[in-house]
């Protein structure tokens, strides 16, 4: 014998012919093994249908929650971004003033250079709009006189949150003004809250991703335990770490992919349930709004994330437990 025993091409002195495996064969057998192992891992999931279904359900819920939350928040942001967020101040005019005086006052306001727009909504116009959009339109018919004050909507030049209330107070102090309200403040607050909630959904998503990691890791760990003998024997007859690891990584892959697909279905179903009331709600806010589900890109991101989490979870389990199973005590 002239060659090193660790080289597979070594030829014995006589008799038994050692099999030669060239690199093409090696690649082919590597691919074959991948296909076989992937199929085997899927078949094994079916061998324990109840346990697999429960694991998948947990994964689907853990993956669907952040997906759902994220989609809802995106939709809300989309909805509110259609709204004018330029802060406006509504000046409610004393009801005693006649239309001519109100008109004069609004012209005076136009001369101010700290306001960019001034819009007068007369008492009659206000009444018409109220009739048109409010559910309490019938109520107005019961009244003899128009109870609504005239309103002047002004857009301040500044958007500074400190200066705005100062300006509002200044305007409110003017004689014709009964009351002033910084309008659209709540839209900004809502948008800030949504941004915060979105950030929160990332945190939640992170926590749930950790849960997915642990669930897959634990499931794969149990699979490793149940196949301990097979791992030992395989290592004894020359299996590399990668070879031993492969079936378990594919288990994690399938858990991730199937869990992600189920999660996608859950999110879409939930959004379908919500879309009709959401449309109705948007309509109330004078907004033509089409709720959006998970698009192609979102779906791909969601599936990719769940596959990665499945792989990472199984990798953690495999890295931790496969080394412990070494043929020493045989």
């Amino acid at each position: 014998m002239t060659k090193r025993p660790v080289q597979e091409t070594a030829v014995p002195r006589r008799g038994a012919q050692q099999h030669r495996i060239d690199s093409v064969d090696r690649r082919r057998s590597w691919r074959r093994h991948h296909v076989m192992v992937a199929r085997g891992a899927l078949v094994r999931l079916r061998h324990t249908p109840v346990a697999s279904a429960m694991t998948l359900a947990v994964l689907a819920i853990a993956l669907a929650l952040p997906g759902f939350l994220f989609t809802v928040l995106t939709n809300l942001q989309l909805l509110t971004s259609g709204w004018d967020t330029q802060p406006r101040i509504a000046l409610y005019i004393q009801t005693e003033l006649d239309d001519a005086a109100i008109d004069r006052f609004s012209r005076e306001l136009l001369l101010r250079d700290d306001l960019t727009t001034v819009e007068l909504i007369g008492r009659q116009k206000g009444l018409e709009e109220f009739r048109k959009y409010s559910a309490f339109a019938d109520l107005l018919d019961q009244l003899d006189t128009n109870p609504l004050p005239a309103v002047i909507m002004v857009t301040p030049l500044t958007t500074d949150p400190v200066q705005l209330p100062v300006l509002k107070a200044e305007l409110a102090a003017m004689a014709p003004v009964a009351d002033a309200e910084l309008d659209m403040e709540w839209v900004q607050r809502l948008q800030a809250a949504l941004a915060l909630a979105k950030r929160g959904s990332y945190v939640l998503g992170g926590l749930l991703a950790l849960a997915v990691l642990l669930v897959v890791g634990n499931t794969v760990r149990m699979t490793i335990e149940s196949r301990r003998d097979e791992i030992l024997v395989s290592k004894l007859v020359g299996a590399t770490d990668a070879w031993v690891r492969r079936p378990f990584l594919y288990s994690g892959f399938w858990f991730g992919l199937l869990g992600g697909a189920l999660a996608w279905l859950l999110v879409q179903a939930a959004l379908l349930l919500l879309s009709e009331p959401a449309r109705a709600l948007a309509h109330l806010y004078l907004n033509r709004f089409e709720p959006q589900g998970l698009g192609v890109a979102d779906t791909l991101v969601m599936l990719a994330a769940s596959v990665l989490l499945g792989l990472a979870g199984s990798w953690l389990a495999v890295a931790r437990h496969l080394r412990e199973i070494e043929p020493g005590e045989v």
């Binding site: 660790v6 597979e8 014995p12 008799g15 495996i21 074959r32 290592k235 020493g328």
Partner: protein, 221 residues
């Protein structure tokens, strides 16, 4: 040219027990020889060192031209593919057929499935179990299980065949059969090292015998 060479090998387990104390020997390529001694004399430890299931505390083990102490962990599987091992307790997997047990080493090495099937059938034919390829090994007798283990050890055509008490649980007639199988493999050039304490059988076989006592090699003839 030595197939196996032990050079001043010591093995002390972490429990403090000394399993091997300064063992020196060589097994020539193509030779068949026995390793004997009472239980606890160090036979299993010696085989484990060859299989790299354990590492020596001191000294060197060579397989062919390879100094095992230089082998990195990642290279161990490739050494094991060169060595066929018959285990005392078979180490068969009872979740699959006889065929699937025997094909495992070929599968790991990456043989073409058709070629692998041909080799598995040849190996099973050799040990007289071709008719049982679809059976689960748990349905076989102890002797048959041992022969499945032998088929798996030789299916790869290893240059070195190790056996740890291969006839431990068998009656004398079956033991003779099994030893006959090992001799056949030896005749086609395989180096064979068999650990056994069956003295009557060993004495009939007329091969070199390495005797261990309390971790020391006390006879080599």
């Amino acid at each position: 040219m030595a197939a196996i060479r032990f050079s001043n090998v010591f093995k002390r387990y972490s429990s403090g027990q000394d399993a091997l104390l300064g063992v020196n020997f060589e097994v020539a390529s193509g030779e068949m020889c026995f390793l004997t001694g009472h239980s606890g004399a160090g036979k299993s430890t010696l085989l484990k060192l060859i299989m790299l299931m354990e590492r020596p505390s001191r000294g060197q083990v060579w397989i062919g031209q390879q100094d095992l102490s230089l082998l990195h962990r990642a290279q161990i599987p490739f050494l094991r593919r060169q060595v066929g091992v018959v285990f005392q307790n078979h180490q068969l997997l009872f979740d699959r057929s006889v065929f699937d047990n025997v094909v495992l080493p070929l599968h790991i090495t990456g043989y073409d499935p058709t070629d692998a099937a041909r080799r598995v059938r040849a190996a099973l034919d050799k040990v007289g179990l071709l008719a049982r390829e679809r059976h689960n090994p748990i349905t076989l007798s102890t002797g048959e299980q041992q022969r499945v283990g032998i088929a798996r050890a030789i299916v790869n055509k290893p240059r070195l065949l190790l056996a740890d008490e291969p006839t431990g649980n068998l009656d004398p007639e079956l033991s003779e059969d099994i030893m006959g199988l090992f001799e056949q493999f030896n005749q086609i050039g395989t180096t064979v090292l068999i650990a056994s304490h069956d003295h009557s059988l060993i004495n009939r076989m007329r091969h070199r015998v390495l005797t261990l006592r309390n971790g020391r090699l006390i006879a080599n003839d």
